[in-house]
């Protein structure tokens, strides 16, 4: 795998810890010697609104926003949110989609069915990875670390790299809970 120009799009809802995920992953890559750039787009909501983040790493990276059609990986921590960022998927269908099955009702609008979502996603990618909600941590605020654990196998960082810096981001019992979520994510198999 070539890590000169690797782009991850992360989407979900405010309050799901996406920024923390971005910070921890970015920090661990910087410590591995990579050039990293991240950015965030929020709506007006404080909590519960849609957030889109970009994490890009490698020597060729210049901008905090990628060009459309150029993402290596798209992650969503709320199922339907992924439908808003499909323009970043590579037209050759090589982009990995990591889809957590968590769903939050959409006010005044029908939630798209599982089949509809799968059908659309198949048009964009041959690499769909669904993370089923039964396996999510009980404390949903650690879903971000669970997802991070799961995607490690695709990235040039190890469990140790993350564990080393967890103490900088969480203290006391939260560190242990998040560490557990990370390990469960690493172990997760469909």
């Amino acid at each position: 795998m070539n890590y000169n120009n690797y782009t991850i799009v992360i989407t979900g809802l405010g309050g799901q810890g996406l920024i923390k995920l971005l910070q921890i992953l970015g920090d661990s890559l910087v410590r591995k010697g990579y050039k990293v750039m991240t950015s965030e787009k929020h709506g007006l909501s404080q909590r519960g609104g849609m957030v889109t983040c970009f994490l890009r790493f490698g020597d060729m990276i210049a901008a905090p926003i990628p060009i459309i059609g150029s993402a290596e990986m798209i992650i969503t921590t709320e199922k339907s949110c992924i439908l808003n960022v499909l323009q970043y998927a590579n037209p050759n269908k090589s982009t990995k989609f990591i889809i957590t099955e968590y769903k939050k009702a959409i006010l005044d609008s029908k939630y798209p069915s599982d089949k509809d979502i799968s059908d659309i996603l198949k048009n964009y990618s041959n690499h769909l990875y669904f993370l089923s909600s039964e396996n999510f941590p009980k404390n949903q605020k650690t879903t971000n670390l669970f997802v991070l654990g799961y995607i490690l196998k695709f990235l040039p960082i190890e469990k140790n790299d993350i564990e080393l810096i967890l103490k900088d981001y969480f203290s006391g019992e939260f560190q242990a809970i998040n560490q557990e979520a990370l390990i469960n994510g690493i172990k997760y198999q469909r």
Binding site: V30, I65, Q87, I117
Partner: protein, 651 residues
């Protein structure tokens, strides 16, 4: 990275850092003495970091000022006295600060250490702003130098340059940012910290510090023809204005001029299209280096000017080309035409690499490679979520009570009701299901807007304003309304904090609950309002267990609305209920759940009262246990007592 690492990290260490925090480090490496600010996304983190650090690092003063105008005045005088100062604000804040800035820009302190940096963060695409504005045109009005970094590393370096230029020339220097630089994170290499160099003796000579007819025109003359002339020389020779990939010529005779984050987008777009082109990167954006630009343009048949929002660079570059009799074709926004068709890049919205690549395809007549990657199926690609308040937000129940009270009122008095909104979380009440907004401008405007209609119509006019915004700029409008006997109803939504930008304190915040509070006085908002002579009612939620709060609130709003219509006087209702995010820091609340046996699915909780933790599932109300923060309003509202207290929330 913790804030404290900004002062404990050594030179040449590399950290993964937010653009805003790189600015803090850059200022600390410049020996900053004073930072004043008003929080505003995307600039707020700078002030938060300085507030946490300044005592340990030995800076003279840091304050979260009441508004941007005051922030500029406090820092401006410290600059006159010989301090190195920085003032921080968001785009709209610059409008508030503009009045004193005109004078400040012209004054010329005599103290060697004096330096002044004005940090302004623009927000293209208005992710968190009421307006989209390009602060760069202020540079022409103020006549001050400006630098624009394109990434977090440059945030650190350019902050140091800005202090250096200001100290040398004795003129304020603007550091201009946009959201994608302020909120970008990247590798940042640190330099050495510098200790403050402020002197105990200083010179406050009136002839260089007093804006008045006695001195101003002389100072202005000197500002333009001496200091700005020196700034131009710096700009012409600055390494911040440099030609990148000078030898990578292309078959289109094309060169590119860009600045700030747009420069990084250009690199991505060129890489994607596999085109090479020399780029003149402008980091010193005012005054522009005329000679350097003319020299660059001269060597190309076509030059593409890439910038976000206004055509600030392009209009000047067109003039430079004309003055130097250059035949080069300049591509960009064609700013004099006001024509969408002629604009390769729009004046409106955020720029990105995709838009630039599409423009480059047009200029070079390349096949449309980018378009081909677009959406194939748009059936569900617009799963849009409406902006929502936090679960448990005190403003949710206010929205509910306001709507219920007006329903009751319309039965008795059929007059029209209009709402005037302000800037804060309660702006979200502008959206469905509440839609409480008819006119809204800027910070502090709601109270005066209500007066404008009330004086010319018999309707009921309701201004909605938060406590932070009221302190910022709502006070003069209230006094204006009381003085002019404006028949309006003002709802002051006092949640205790500047909620929307991250619960920063304001003068009315409880000093017990923020670290810096021990050095502050709390302004008593109740007494202040009494002192204005306005008719005043105060309603408190008190604690999060009080029953009947929604009903008490509804009855009060109904009664006072009726009073305004009947006696034509100005009424203020002060509603005190703390921001749930802050309340949760100091209180343990029990999350609620629905007893399905008792729930009749009447919809009052999830439909009429709109809390994002509540929804309908299988013909029952349902509470998302991961989102409920335990405010308990739904329990009060449920007519069937079907909402019960569960476990304590885990934060």
């Amino acid at each position: 990275m913790e804030y404290v690492d900004l002062i404990r990290s050594r030179a040449s260490e590399e950290h993964f850092l937010l653009g805003n925090l790189a600015i803090v480090r850059g200022a600390l490496e410049s020996g900053i003495d004073v930072y004043t600010y008003y929080p505003g996304t995307p600039s707020s983190e700078v002030g938060e970091a300085f507030t946490k650090l300044y005592r340990e690092v030995g800076m003279r003063w840091v304050e979260n000022s009441i508004n941007e105008k005051v922030a500029v005045e406090v820092a401006g005088a410290a600059y006159a006295r010989g301090a190195k100062v920085m003032v921080g604000m968001k785009n709209a804040g610059l409008n508030v600060a503009a009045d004193p800035l005109f004078a400040l820009a012209t004054t010329r302190p005599k103290n060697e250490n004096s330096a002044c940096v004005i940090l302004v963060a623009d927000d293209p695409q208005q992710y968190s702003s009421a307006i989209e504005m390009d602060s760069r045109y202020y540079l022409k009005l103020f006549k001050i130098p400006a630098l624009e970094p394109s990434n977090p590393q440059e945030c650190l370096e350019y902050t140091k340059y800005a202090f250096e230029i200001s100290r040398k020339l004795k003129i304020p220097v603007m550091l201009r940012l946009v959201t994608m630089v302020s909120h970008a994170r990247s590798n940042v290499k640190f330099g050495d910290l510098m200790h403050s160099e402020i002197k105990d003796d200083f010179d406050l000579s009136p002839e260089v510090n007093v804006a008045s007819r006695l001195y101003f025109l002389n100072l202005k003359e000197e500002q333009i023809y001496t200091r700005m002339n020196q700034a131009l020389n710096l700009s012409e020779n600055s390494p911040l204005n440099k030609i990148m990939s000078e030898n990578s010529l292309n078959e289109y005779g094309l060169g590119i001029i860009a600045s700030g984050v747009s420069f990084s987008y250009v690199l991505e777009a060129l890489e994607h299209l596999q085109i090479k082109a020399p780029i003149l990167k402008l980091g010193f954006i005012h005054p522009l280096p005329e000679r350097k630009i003319a020299e660059f343009i001269k060597s190309f048949k076509n030059v593409f000017v890439v910038e976000e929002n206004d055509a600030y660079l392009e209009t000047q570059i067109l003039a430079i080309a004309q003055k130097n009799e250059l035949q080069t074709k300049i591509y960009g926004k064609d700013p004099f035409s006001y024509s969408r068709e002629n604009s390769l890049l729009s004046f409106v919205g955020e720029l990105n690499p995709t838009k630039i690549a599409q423009a480059l395809e047009k200029i070079t007549d390349l096949p449309n490679k980018i378009i081909a990657n677009q959406i194939k199926d748009d059936k569900y690609n617009t799963v849009k979520r409406k902006p929502v308040l936090c679960p448990g937000c005190p403003y949710g129940v206010i929205g509910y009570a306001l709507r219920e009270s007006l329903k009751k009122l319309s039965a008795k008095k059929p007059e029209n009701v209009y709402f005037y909104q302000d800037i804060g979380c309660y702006t979200l009440l502008s959206f469905p299901p509440y839609s409480f907004a008819n006119v809204k401008y800027c910070m502090g405007s709601s109270i005066a807007l209500a007066q404008g209609v009330a004086h010319t119509d018999d309707s009921l006019n309701i201004a909605i304003i938060g406590d932070g915004t009221f302190f910022h700029s709502g006070i003069p409008a209230l006094l204006n309304g009381v003085y002019n006997k404006a028949p309006i109803l003002i709802l002051i939504l006092d949640n205790g904090w500047i909620g929307m930008t991250g619960q920063q304190p304001h003068p009315g915040s409880d000093t017990k609950y923020y670290k810096e509070g021990r050095y502050k006085n709390k302004i008593d908002l109740e007494k202040f309002l009494e002192g204005t002579g306005a008719k005043l009612n105060i309603i408190k939620r008190q604690d999060h267990n009080t029953k009947n709060y929604p009903k008490r609130l509804k009855d009060l709003i109904y009664e006072k609305s009726l009073n305004v219509l009947e006696n034509g006087e100005l009424h203020v209702i002060l509603i005190e209920d703390e921001c749930i995010q802050k309340f949760n820091e100091n209180n343990i609340l029990k999350i609620r759940y629905v007893d399905e046996k008792l729930c009749t699915n009447c919809g009052i909780c999830y439909d009429q009262f709109s809390c994002s933790a509540l929804y309908e599932q299988d013909n029952k109300a349902c509470i998302n246990r991961n989102e409920c923060l335990g405010c308990g309003i739904c329990e009060d509202l449920c007519p069937n007592n079907a909402i019960l207290r569960g476990e304590e929330n885990e934060l």
